[in-house]
Symmetry: C2
Subunit: 211 residues, 2 copies
DNA sequence: AACTGTGAAGTTTTTCACAGCC
DNA sequence: GGCTGTGAAAAACTTCACAGTT
């Protein structure tokens, strides 16, 4: 039973693992100890065969006839995704969005901790936002390097997203979660994911019966 | 040249159209009038063939030898996605996230306008948040019905997401953008999309060189 | 020369269906 | 009887490559 297989796992499979993990956490909160590909599939509207096949990439996590022990599966998936450790994250941009991100309690128990909040605006620098004091952009490079921070969330206006991303990469960041509604260009070994609510809304309006 | 084809377009294609639209808007801001599948593809890191094939589902929007007129393509894609009209949206949940959503300026010019902000907590009801006054949940049904609002953004704690979703559907909402980190169950004709930053972060940590 | 639109080919992803185990 | 893990089959998706147009 492997945990980090040498054989290449499709990215689309990796993208589903966090959903499994989230649903498993929920099942656990509900007091369940064991689940099945069928139950998980119902929750997530994913076929049970798909779930079994996805999990089988990493070895046999289940028991025939019984299903999956939830605690065990959570531990295994956490290891695969490397969220059995806590990752330090920086937030860049202390506007409404950056502030909301900084206040959000939901990162903690899923593998992430916000370490610093940066902004370039003189009015914001030094301000207290929850437990953070807004730090100036010019300190970003030193802090990220010194603390070996690998992950950043980008919550600046679209016009500044590319140049901030460049700074982050320069400072050694390897993964960027970009909330700005613009595609950024980074070296091929840097991970980028996007969050743009409007793209989701526009995806849904396609299917709505016209006003 | 069709605009709403009878033949079934793959959902995965529909999901890319908002990205095209976003990139086109950006190109337009930069003063460009014409683009090509190649240029768009470079921006989005999508192959030019894919873009041409996706667009071809809706008819010939481009000109051989020339490319695509940006203004024209924006208009066509907006029509396909039905965002050539403005959709009224309600936000449920006036915590940090709901407040940040309500302040966000980026919905306006991409087809959406926030009409109301709801919360159930007595301390929040009546509070002024930007241009909104927080309304009580018990008024949700009437307001959504009266104004024929079809879209909601759900920014309540995970524990309440399902019951609020049920209320929304009951009130006639047809599309829900769910920010709560939990899968909700709705009738098959209701659209749901999810925004959960942690799933994106966990997707990226898979690829990071371990701490 | 540059570019679209598109069948055909190739690749990836999902589902099926069942042997094997509890 | 219920469930996993998995080859094989099916379906979906992407890329190729080129005829045809500007």
């Amino acid at each position: 039973m492997l945990v980090k297989p040498t054989d290449n796992i499709p990215d689309i499979v990796i993208g589903r693992l966090p959903l499994y993990l989230r649903a498993l956490g929920r099942l656990q909160q509900e007091g369940k100890e064991v689940t099945s590909s069928h139950e998980l599939g119902n929750r997530l509207e994913i076929s049970s065969a798909q779930i079994r096949k996805d999990l089988s990439h990493f070895g046999g996590f289940g028991k025939q006839g019984t299903g999956y022990r939830i605690e065990y599966l959570i531990e295994k998936l956490s290891t695969v995704l490397q969220v059995n450790q806590e990752w330090m994250v920086v937030v860049v941009g202390a506007g409404n969005l950056g502030i909301a991100i900084s206040h959000y309690r939901g990162f903690q128990d899923r593998g992430f901790r916000i370490a610093h909040l940066f902004d370039e605006s003189p009015e914001k620098i030094g301000a207290r936002i929850g437990e953070f004091v807004v730090k100036p952009m010019r300190k970003l490079n030193d802090i990220v390097r010194r603390e070996s921070i690998k992950i950043a969330m980008l919550a600046v206006p679209a016009e500044h997203a590319q140049s901030v991303a460049d700074h982050l990469v320069e400072a050694g960041v390897q993964a960027i979660l970009n909330y700005a509604p613009i595609n950024i260009s980074v070296p091929p070994d840097i991970q980028v994911q996007y969050i743009d609510p409007v793209t989701h809304l526009q995806h849904m309006t396609f299917y709505l019966s016209g006003e």
